[in-house]
Amino acid sequence: MVNSPIMQMFARSPFKPMQEHIIKAQASAAELIPFFDAVIANDWNTASECQHRIAVIEGEADDMKRDIRQRLPASIFLPVPRTDLLDLLRMQDKIANRAKDIAGLMLGRQMQIPEPIQDELRELLRTALQTIEQAVLALSELDELLAAGFRGHEVDIVERLITELDRLEHKTDEHERELRASLFRVERDLWPIDVMFLYQIIQWVGDLANRAQQVGSRLQLLLAR
């Protein structure tokens, strides 16, 4: 029987799983593109399949989150504050949750997207997904940050990535505002309740970008000490 304190001392690193988790979250959000296409085309079979895929991926992300948490009891010593890391994880997970919310609501109400705002909605989703991609890019530096000991040149690289992330989130905000204005112009011709939920969806798509940005700012917090 092998019993070495040296061996017991090394716990499994949470950093690689963190990176895998945000990639999972991104994958669930990315499924919204075919989902939106199907919704706009009024193809509810395909939309339902997409929604199912999103739910499955979101469930996988949840499992990964739980697994990471379980491996981080308070007796684990990390190079960054443990609570900040868990906070970052929570934010990452919220991206997948919101993607699932969006798909669930749109499918449940079989929402019709009025023609005048279809392109703008697609554009909003694209920029929101870009923001998430940027967050993934920033997170992909996590193993390099670890290798460098969360100091020096690597930190500058990550800071630059986060600045770009903030810019993208800002861009998404602008799109969101424009889309609201467009919807406002046509809302009189639509069912009021449908319009309410359309506003809701617009906000939620914007949330995807917000949460990606939150991931970035949590990552920044990790480096801030």
């Binding site: 040296i6 061996m7 001392m9 499994r12 684990i76 190079p79 670890l146 460098a148 020096g152």
Partner: protein
Amino acid sequence: MEIIAQYGTIMVVMACIFGFFMAWGVGANDVANAMGTSVGSRALTLKQAILIAILFEFAGAYLAGGAVTDTIRKGIIEPSMLSANPELLVFGMMASLLAAGIWLLIATHFGWPVSTTHSIVGAIVGFAAVGISMEAVHWNKVGNIVASWVVSPVTAGVIAFFLFRSVQKLILDTENPFANAKRYVPMYIFLVGFIIAMVTFTKGLKHVGLHLSWGESAAVSVLIGLVTMGIGIFMQRGIKLDPEANRDFHFTSVEKVFGVLMMFTACAMAFAHGSNDVANAVGPLAAIVGIVNAGGEVAQKAAMPAWILLLGGAGIVAGLVMYGHKVIATVGQNITELTPSRGFAATLAAASTVVVASGTGLPISTTHTLVGAVLGVGLARGMAALNLRVVGTIFVSWIVTLPAGAILSIMFFFMLKGMFS
């Protein structure tokens, strides 16, 4: 006196067997802790690690193991108390070997992380204090030894912290880590060669018949450092920046350069381990042989015969070859999160601390020192995730091991005494 004249040979043979068995245990179990970081960081293959361990454990035991062996042999017990009946010392030392050996077997069976050093020191103090008298123990010396068990992990931790910080400053946190790695790693290699050589030349080697002044030692050590540096530069010459491997993880090529450095620190670690831990096995043996050879005189002046250290070294190598390689493989496979840049800082810090302790004649625990060093790198934000519960387990193992070794050796002491008289 008659007892020794009558049973002298059989006592020496028995002591040799016990001592060899203890050394075997050190090779089978403890070497894995010393080599695990090197195998775990994948700087060495298993075969290379075993080869290095065989060579350098033996070299460390033979060349630099003398001082600690002397401490175990005659530093803990006041010999003047025993001049009337020296056979008690023989029984006691045999009892200590038996006690430590059996305690280690029990602990290994249940999977407790106990230290060979603590077992043997506990055993010797135990039989001397109870079997002879409280005054027979050099309590201030024992106090120093126990203090060194706290000081050594802390020292190794501090060294490791600053070593890793220097690696960050000079290499990892710069714009071009690869170029800087190639520039600075040879200097670390020089440091490895120099420290080990310096301690060995100033503190060991007396029994090999080599007497050098401090200045001569320093000069020779610088030379040895330069030679190791030369070998290192030669070895890392072939490592090129590999953009393909670096795409996914930017430090891949840099870590390769550190891999070369890690080979040298692995040698240093094996050497340090051999120099400190061989004493646990052969220190009591040396005491017994000393008394029997002197025909019952508790001869303190007599130099220790070199064959004792050779026997210890051989025992370690035997344990390593027969069983230790499996343990090294297991430990190495389980340390997957360690990269060579960290492994090097932790191992070099531990090796330096242990080798200095060996030179000073302090028996310390290599494993605990290495744990301290790894924590030091962790405090410099160098480790992904460390399980701090290990520190608690180590403290518990101390508290249990000292009395356990003592009680067992007291038992064996009175048994042997009864059997021979």
